[in-house]
């Protein structure tokens, strides 16, 4: 009898928190096992040294790209009315980059030496560049998120001066947006180039892989932002959205997907001409082999084509349900693209013995420890976002930043007074 009473008192919010808590606890446990026993508890091998964790790392950074693109749109292209959406995106970006760092700490062989990349530089290395840009951009995101944290009621009452100072950071938003744009463009495409510069892996060795990474990141990042905003608005009254804004972003995502599909099409088609050991087999793996379901259904059909149609066709774009479906499919497609890219290149084992390189294949499936720790990191992301929605008004299109509103009013006022002056002139002239 007692148990039944307790269950009935469990609100959905609490159940959600508990569920996430369980997954995070499992993740922490798995992570501790990794730190204690080393990477031998994974199914990674010398032939496939990068697996599920790197995919999660790449995907987290990709879906955080909404932050830089929306902030650039708001502060550099003057699309001020999207500022609330940019706010949500910035917060998601902060979460995403911390998720990426958590996964990386798990993945490198010596987590205690994570600081080496910041201190010991190799300017020729793309991975170094990614690490530096990610670190710097994380700092930018923290600064850009300070106004969000300044809204925290508890902070406002406990340390009002600090909250006010944090709120003032918003004045520097345009400059932060510029820096964020530069850093993001560098490292989002460099993440692709990490694969693209390796001559040893013919399937990866192409220059357009960086372009594909950044375009898919922009599409995926914005999609996650809009989807998360819409989902929060459906689930709780603490989140409120202005649907016209989100529809505008969804329309842009639709066209981004067109561009993405165009590049993917030519990228894949160009690889079908002439046999090149390693590259042709890679394409075969992707289109006909073990990865074909992921590729055709996950990446192309569900990840690009269907969302593209749904988001560009007005009736489905304006429908809440269809728009949300399209957006989550885009995010899924972006994750699938990174998994496929990583695993396809590593599955191909080229022999280096004299003569025509012989192609062999190896295989990989993540171990339970990898899955649990990865799930823990994802659950951490979901938890922080949920807490942000509830306590920090992260999804709140009513609360535009104060000074931005002033500026809008001022601009309207200037416009209005100009029109008024012209009218007065006309009246004077006509009189």
């Amino acid at each position: 009898m007692k148990i039944r009473l307790k269950l009935s008192k469990l609100s959905p919010w609490l159940a959600w928190l508990i569920g996430l808590g369980v997954v995070i606890a499992a993740g922490v446990g798995a992570g501790l096992i990794v730190f204690w026993k080393g990477l031998s508890v994974t199914n990674l091998t010398d032939l496939i040294p990068w697996g599920l964790w790197i995919t999660i790392d790449l995907s987290s950074i990709a879906v955080s790209a909404g932050a830089f693109s929306l902030c650039a749109a708001v502060y550099l292209l003057g699309l001020k009315r999207y500022q609330p959406v940019a706010r949500t995106a910035t917060f998601i970006g902060l979460i995403g980059y911390t998720m990426a760092l958590l996964t990386l700490i798990l993945d490198i062989g010596r987590p205690d030496r994570f600081w080496h990349a910041i201190v010991y530089w190799n300017k020729h290395s793309l991975l170094w560049e990614v690490t530096m840009c990610v670190t710097l951009y994380l700092a930018v995101l923290v600064l850009e998120s300070m106004p969000i944290f300044a809204q925290f009621e508890w902070l406002k009452t406990r340390w009002p001066k600090l909250a006010e100072k944090m709120s003032h950071v918003h004045h520097y938003a345009p400059y932060l947006a510029v820096v964020g744009l530069g850093l993001s463009m560098l490292h989002q495409s460099s993440l692709g180039a990490v694969y693209g510069v390796l001559k040893a892996r013919p399937f990866w060795y192409r220059p357009d892989i960086s372009v594909l990474f950044i375009i898919s990141a922009v599409a995926g990042g914005m999609s996650l932002t809009v989807f998360a905003s819409m989902l929060s608005a459906r689930l709780t009254r603490r989140a409120s959205v202005d649907d016209s804004l989100l529809e505008g972003v969804a329309y842009f995502i639709g066209w981004t997907l067109v561009l993405y599909l165009y590049f993917r099409f030519w990228d894949a088609l160009s690889m079908t001409y002439t046999y090149q050991p390693g590259r042709t087999e890679g394409l075969q793996l992707l289109t006909q082999g073990p990865l074909s379901f992921n590729f055709w259904v996950g990446e192309i059909l569900l990840g690009i084509v269907i969302p593209m149609v749904l988001l560009l066709y007005r009736p489905t774009r304006t429908s809440q349900l269809w728009r949300m479906i399209a957006l989550i499919l885009v995010v899924g497609g972006v994750v699938a693209y990174r998994w496929d890219t990583n695993i396809s290149g590593l599955m191909i084992v080229l022999s280096y013995l004299p003569g025509e390189p012989i192609v062999g294949y190896t295989h990989y499936f993540p171990s339970l420890i990898e899955v649990f720790s990865g799930a823990g990191v994802v659950a951490y992301g979901l938890l922080t976002f949920s807490l942000g929605v509830r306590y920090l008004k992260v999804v709140d299109h009513r609360a535009m930043e104060a000074h931005v509103e002033e500026k809008e009013l001022a601009e309207h006022a200037t416009a209005a007074s100009t029109i008024l002056n012209v009218k007065r002139e006309n009246v004077k002239r006509n009189a």
């Binding site: 091998t45 032939l47 793996l285 082999g289 073990p290 379901f293 259904v297 569900l302 349900l321 479906i325 599955m347 084992v349 062999g360 294949y361 190896t362 295989h363």
Partner: protein
């Protein structure tokens, strides 16, 4: 207390703290072994414990203490002639030896003054081993006839000089109990066909024909008693064949040659089929490991489930529409 006095006391405290720290730090830093002039056979073990252990349990280490030798030597009145080999640095004039048994300095001498900066000297050629193993009853004379010697191989190619045993290579292809493993490791070409031969069926291994061990025994005491050593010329002569086939040499119809001809005419030695061994999925395969059709079906099923849930209102509408029309 004036400012100067305070400063002086402060400096004294600082020097005390620094001094204590320095002393403690020095105590922690392990001092590297200092080069010493007086390295004797006993002091090698301080740095080379691994080698010392293998040496001690092997024939070289037990050359004086081995019970078979000790019994025989004692019975003969401890003749000094034996100590020329069974001890290190035996001086017949004084009857004194530098050390009992074959110790490090037996092969590694003279000791350089600043070892470990300078390496210990070693003569890897058969001449060093030949100093003791050169008795005509031993291997070295025959060794010089072998193709191995012609190709500048040394004793340590097959023998571990410290344990005085055979070298072992991880993953050597045969699993024979004697030294034939080692032969097969280099002579892979020959070993391709030998395992399916009549000789192999009769449990004959490399050492039986090429070193003169009796078939079916691997006991090295075949030779050690009376200081005999296997024939290291590795040449299989007529005597080798005669060890087993002496009766077939000229027996009509039963000669070795006749047997071989008979086998040839009947179609050759049948090659036994290889025993299937359960191999785990190797790491690199010729074809990609396919996803099982059930995997694809499961994924498609999940998608169908989601799609169905999404499309259900429209499907319901369609169903009602069709029913309405059908009903009329």
């Amino acid at each position: 207390m004036s400012k100067l006095e305070r400063l002086i006391i402060a400096i004294m405290f600082a020097m005390l703290a620094a001094g204590i720290t320095l002393v403690v730090a020095q105590a922690q830093t392990p001092q590297p072994p200092q080069p010493t002039n007086s390295i004797t056979g006993d002091s090698c073990v301080a740095c080379h414990k691994d080698i010392y252990d293998t040496w001690q349990s092997g024939a070289h280490g037990q050359s004086l203490t081995d019970p078979v030798f000790a019994e025989s030597w004692n019975a003969q009145g401890k003749p000094g002639a034996c100590l020329v080999c069974h001890a290190t640095g035996y001086d017949p004039a004084t009857g004194e030896s530098e050390a009992e048994g074959v110790v490090c300095t037996g092969c590694h001498s003279p000791i350089p003054p600043n070892h470990p900066t300078d390496n210990m000297p070693i003569d890897a050629s058969p001449d060093l081993c030949g100093r003791c193993h050169s008795d005509p009853r031993f291997a070295t004379e025959n060794w010089k006839l072998s193709a191995h010697y012609q190709r500048s191989m040394t004793c340590s190619v097959c023998h571990d000089p410290h344990s005085a045993g055979m070298k072992s290579v991880a993953g050597a292809i045969n699993t024979s109990a004697d030294a034939s493993d080692l032969c097969a490791n280099c002579h892979k070409g020959v070993m391709q066909n030998f395992p399916t031969s009549k000789h192999a069926e009769a449990n004959v291994t490399c050492v039986n024909c090429h070193l003169g061990f009796n078939v079916g025994t691997t006991d090295v005491t075949d030779f050690v008693s009376a200081h005999k050593a296997p024939d290291h010329s590795f040449m299989a002569t007529l005597d080798t064949c005669n060890k087993c086939h002496v009766n077939q040499m000229h027996a009509p119809g039963e000669s070795v040659a006749a047997a071989a001809i008979a086998i040839e005419e009947s179609g050759g030695t049948p090659t036994p089929l290889p025993t299937p061994v359960a191999t785990p999925t190797p790491l690199v395969t010729n074809q990609p490991v396919p996803v099982s059709p059930f995997g694809f079906a499961g994924l498609a099923g999940l998608l169908g489930l989601v799609g169905g849930m999404v499309l259900s209102p429209w499907l319901e509408r369609l169903y009602r529409h069709l029913n309405k029309n059908g009903g009329e």
